[in-house]
Subunit: 279 residues, 2 copies
C-alpha cells in the first residue's frame, strides 16, 4: 500500500522503517529541511518531503504528530488528504482528538500504539519498536467499518495485538497506567532533589540503583508529551492522582501507627496484584 | 580466605558463588535441611550446614539475614563467632543493626551492597549480582580500622565500588532512593486495582506497557523486607513520604489550575535532574 506518515519522530520513524520492511511504500512528511535530510539518511521512508502534497496518492495516512498539532492541524495538511483516504493518529489521548478529527475527515479512526522510549525526534525511530506491542483502536458509532477493518489488518501485520475500546474508556485506562506514572516519577525525582543538603544528594546519587532508576524512568520522558496529556486528559489524571494520594495516605497511616500486620497484608496484596497483572 | 556466610538467599547465595570464583573457601549456614540440600545442589558454598559451629574457623563472617533476624540473633550464632573474626551484614538499614551488633561483637562493621532483584530464597542467587554494584560501608568511631581495611579489600575484589557513610546518613539516603519507591510502587498498583469496574481493570491490564511495569516493579519485591524497612527506618521513610506528598501536591495544583507554563518547567526540571543524577 501507499502509506503516508506525517511526522517521522520516535513513532513515525519506527513506523516508516517497519512498514517499508513489510513491502509498503512510505511517504513521510516532516516539518523542516534538517529533518528531511536526516530522515532520508536514515531511510525512514521511501519518499520524504516538507510538502504535504506528497500525501496526495496515499491510501492510508498515519498522523504521528504531537497532540497539540493533532488538535490544531494546518490547512495545508487538511487540504492534502484525499477524501477517500483512511486517516489514523497515534496520540496518547483519544477523546479530544477524535471529537476534532471526525468532523474534519469522515474516514478518521483514532488509534494508539502502546510503545515508546524516552527518546524523541527524527533520530529515535527503530524498526522493532512495535514488536508484540498492544495497539488500541477506538472506533465510534460514526466510524466506517471498512476503514476499521483495513486499519486493523495493517496494524496486525506489524505483529501488534489489537485492542478495541471507546475513546472515553481508553482515556481513563491510560490515565491510570500510563499518564499517572509520569507525574509520580517526576514527584519522586523532585523529592530526592529538594534536599538542601549537598552531601546527602551526593550520597543518594552514589547509592541510586535499579530500583530508583526504574521507578523514576518515565519522569525523564518527553516533557511536551507530559504537558499535552495533562491538558487533554486533565479530569482523568486529576482523578487518578487523587485516588493515588488516598492509597499512599493509607500506607503512610499504617507506618505511622506501627500497624505492621496490616502493612504486611497491604504490601502482600500489592505484590500479588502486580504479579497477576503483568505477564 | 575462609569466609562464613549466614543465610544463602539472594544476597548470601550470590556472595557464595562470587567469592568461591575468587578462590575463597565458603562456609554457608542455612536454616533448614531443605535449604541445605538445595544450597549444596547449587554449589552456593564449599560447605553447607544447618549448624553454626561450621563458622568456627572463619576469618570473615557475612550475615546475609533478614533485618529482623539480624536484630534478634540466636544464641547459637553468637556463641559460634570467634572473637577475632570480622563480621559484617548486608542489611538495608544500618543504624539499628550497628547499635545492636557493636555491643555484641567489637569487630562488627556494618555494610550494605546496593544490588538486588525481586527474587528471594536459596534458588535466587547468581554470581554476577554484584558486578559494578555500589557497596556502602558504615564504620563508626568504635570501628576497628584494620577490620574496615580487610573488609574493604574483599568487597573491592568483587568488582564493587565502595562508598563510606555514617549509619545515619546511609539510612536517610536509602529512605529516599530505595525505601520510598517501594511504598510509591505499592500505592500505584493499589490505585489501578481499586476500581470496582472490571472492564476498566481488564483494559488497563491489556494496555499496561513498560512504563507501568517499571514504575511499579519494586512494589513486587520481598514483602518482609518492605515491612522490616518500615519498622527499622520509620522516621526517615515517613519524612520521605511527607516530602513526596508535597511534591505531588504541587504538580496536582499546577494541573488543577491549568498552569501549563509552570507545569512544563516543573516536568523539564525533573527530567534534567534525573538525567544528571543517573549515569
Amino acid at each position: 500500500m501507499k502509506i503516508g506518515i506525517v511526522g517521522l519522530g520516535l513513532i513515525g520513524g519506527s513506523l516508516g522503517l517497519k512498514l517499508q520492511s513489510l513491502g509498503h511504500t512510505i511517504y513521510g512528511v516532516v516539518n523542516n529541511k534538517f529533518n528531511e535530510k536526516k530522515a532520508k539518511e536514515k531511510n525512514l521512508a521511501n519518499f520524504v518531503s516538507c510538502e504535504f502534497s506528497l500525501l496526495k496518492e496515499c491510501e492510508i495516512i498515519i498522523l504521528a504528530l504531537p497532540i497539540k498539532d493533532l488538535l490544531n492541524p494546518s490547512q495545508q495538511l487538511l487540504a492534502s488528504i484525499p477524501k477517500d483516504t483512511i486517516v489514523t493518529d497515534v496520540g496518547s489521548v483519544k477523546e479530544p482528538i477524535i471529537n476534532h478529527w471526525e468532523k474534519l475527515h469522515p474516514l478518521f479512526i483514532g488509534s494508539h500504539p502502546m510503545a515508546g522510549t524516552e527518546k524523541k525526534g527524527v533520530d529515535s525511530g527503530f524498526e522493532d519498536l512495535f514488536n508484540n506491542a498492544k495497539w488500541i483502536i477506538t472506533p465510534t458509532q460514526k466510524s466506517d467499518l471498512n476503514a476499521v477493518r483495513i486499519l486493523s489488518e495493517l496494524i496486525q501485520s506489524m505483529d501488534c495485538e489489537i485492542c478495541h475500546a471507546s475513546p472515553e474508556e481508553h482515556d481513563e485506562a491510560v490515565s491510570l497506567i500510563s499518564h499517572l506514572p509520569i507525574f509520580l516519577a517526576a514527584a519522586l525525582i523532585k523529592t530526592v532533589h529538594q534536599k538542601k543538603n549537598e552531601s546527602l544528594l551526593d550520597l543518594t546519587q552514589k547509592l541510586a540503583a535499579t530500583g530508583f532508576a526504574d521507578t523514576s524512568r518515565v519522569g525523564s520522558g518527553n516533557v511536551q508529551l507530559g504537558l499535552d496529556l495533562a491538558i487533554n486528559n486533565q479530569d482523568n489524571i486529576l482523578n487518578a492522582i487523587s485516588n493515588y494520594k488516598n492509597q499512599l495516605n493509607k500506607l503512610e497511616s499504617l507506618i505511622k501507627e506501627k500497624n505492621w500486620d496490616l502493612l504486611y497484608n497491604s504490601l502482600s496484596e500489592a505484590k500479588a496484584s502486580r504479579e497477576n497483572f503483568i505477564d
